[in-house]
């Protein structure tokens, strides 16, 4: 199982915003993507899912170039968790989650009982059975984000791509979400997550990819990549890294100096 970016350059109209991304996401691994606004993180996400053609290089799943795969087959390997936003129609939570089964449903048919059972099971696993008949538009932002993760999981993907999943969440929901990310990785799902918080990367990432202004991407373990110098280059912010250690925990955190 591998999700590989092979010397990938991404951008619009032949103009690369980010160049030479070269790494492989493995099963059960969490890779966090850090970088300032407008640096090309979302552009990379679009290219990684085949919404945007690469300018140079390619994206492969298990050795196959995704440009040559059908959307249906890509959806069975990679699932995408977008940021929550408005929905024009009042679908119930269950209807929203059921939509994740689209790639398993025949061209001219509707989801089967088996599809429904999978949705029910995943809602139970995520502890959100009580939400199923509520309207998606009327639940909280945190619950919506969980529903979108549920919808991604019913695709039964090997890899999950999350676009700033914590951005609309309060403090406690951020913790719920980070726990969920770790739990999914333990189940063997490879996770690629854009985040704005170096702390979140320090908490749950196995590796970090830092997108910086020279169009380069720095990839490595959180300790290697997140340092006072790298964050100063990437964000133009002075930070101090603090390590707290006692018998039970070792906590690393990153505090800006203002």
């Amino acid at each position: 199982m591998s999700f590989k970016f092979d010397h990938l350059s991404c951008g619009y109209h032949g103009k690369a915003v980010i160049e030479d991304i070269c790494f492989e996401l493995n099963a059960g691994e969490v890779v966090c993507i850090l970088g300032p606004n407008g640096i090309g993180k979302t552009t990379f996400f679009k290219t990684a899912q085949g919404f945007l053609p690469p300018i140079v290089g390619k994206v492969c799943i298990n050795g196959i170039d995704i440009a040559r795969m059908a959307r249906k087959d890509i959806a069975k390997q990679i699932a995408y968790v977008p940021q929550t936003k408005g929905q024009p129609f009042d679908y119930t939570v269950f209807d929203m989650i059921l939509m994740g089964r689209a790639s398993f449903v025949g061209n001219f048919s509707a989801p089967s009982d088996k599809d429904r059972d999978i949705c029910i099971r995943i809602m139970e696993d995520m502890g959100m059975t009580h939400l199923q008949n509520k309207l998606f538009t009327e639940i909280s932002g945190g619950e919506q984000q969980l529903v979108l993760i549920g919808r991604a999981l019913v695709q039964q993907p090997k890899f999950l791509m999350m676009d700033e999943p914590t951005s609309n969440l309060d403090f406690s929901n951020q913790v719920v979400l980070l726990k969920k990310v770790n739990a999914l990785a333990k189940m063997g799902i490879g996770i690629l997550m854009i985040t704005h918080s170096p702390d979140h990367a320090l908490i749950c990432a196995d590796r970090v990819a830092l997108f910086s202004k020279d169009k380069r991407v720095l990839i490595g373990s959180p300790k290697e990549v997140i340092s006072a110098e790298t964050l100063l280059t990437a964000y133009g912010v002075h930070v101090r890294l603090v390590s707290l250690k006692d018998d039970a925990y070792e906590i690393n955190t990153c505090v800006p100096i203002i």
Binding site: K46, Q49, F51, A70, R71, K72, D73, I74, A75, K76, I78, A79, Y80, P82, K85, Q87, P88, F89, D90, Y91, T92, F94, D95, M99, G100, A102, S103, V105, N107, F108, S109, A110, P111, R116, I120, M123, E124, T129, Q132, N133, R151, Q155
Partner: protein
Amino acid sequence: MNQTRLKSASVSNSAKLTVIFILAIGSVFLSFFLGRYSISPKEVFLLVRERLFDMPAGLADSSATVFFNIRLPRVISAFLVGAMLSLSGSVYQSTFKNPMVSPDILGATAGAGFGAAIGLMLNAGSVGVQAFSFSFGLIAVLMTYVIGVVIGDKRNMTLSLVLTGLVVAALFEAMISLIKYMADPYSKLPAITFWLMGSLASTTYKTLPLILIPFLIGGVPLFFLRWKINLLSLSDEEALSIGVNITALRRIIIICATLMTSSVVSVSGMIRWVGLIIPHIARMIVGPDNKVLLLASVLLGGTYLLLVDDVARSMTAMEIPIGILTAIIGAPFFLYLIYRQRSKRQ
């Protein structure tokens, strides 16, 4: 327990559909009796029995003529026209991710109106007018689609299609005005004006296939795709990531809905508001899931237009163009919808 709760939700929807279905059947029968020439339920029974089993009904020939040659095709046409407008409205709304969209969004209505105006101007006869109207309805939508794809933003196809639709519709509306301006004010202008008001008065057995066949060609694929249509109301990237071939799906839906809209306009003129308002009512009753919504839209749309047509043809001595009535009913209802959306947000 979860299973039963989910099942109970779908049971209540099938109960609602059953009620809607009974209402539809009821309105069809009611419409048999109503009209300038009233026919009693007993007479309808006798006439049908005479036709089917060759048992003399003992009624005046005029009853049979009115019932079989005028009222029956009219009732079927009114139901089909309402059903098709409302069905295409429902699927357009999902496809364009906007509950305020109506079937004329891509210019089908304006194009068909322009075609009819040309047909009337050229004295093309009723079949000719319908052919012109139908063709220009399709041409208008094709123009919208091609221009939208060529000049529009590929990442936001729905918005560029809606905007190009607006432009194409405005263009055809202007050309309609031009034709009206040039038309003979004593014979052609009134004909064009009345046609554009929308009426089912010219529907006969001859025009029935012109709407029944498009209803089947357009409606059957939509029926089988009804769950998939839900997926188009997600953002394009979400739908793609779930594994939906949005371009193909959207194209099939637009073709089916346009085929139905253009054929309806070619037979009945511009009957607005039905395709906007009935999908809303259907959504209020059965929810937004197209799996149930499409059937509810078809039945409610048919029932609604049939009842409005009953009023149009029996309220006054001279028939009122049905397009005027649907607009009079539709406009305040649309205001109510805007108000309802506001109160829901607060």
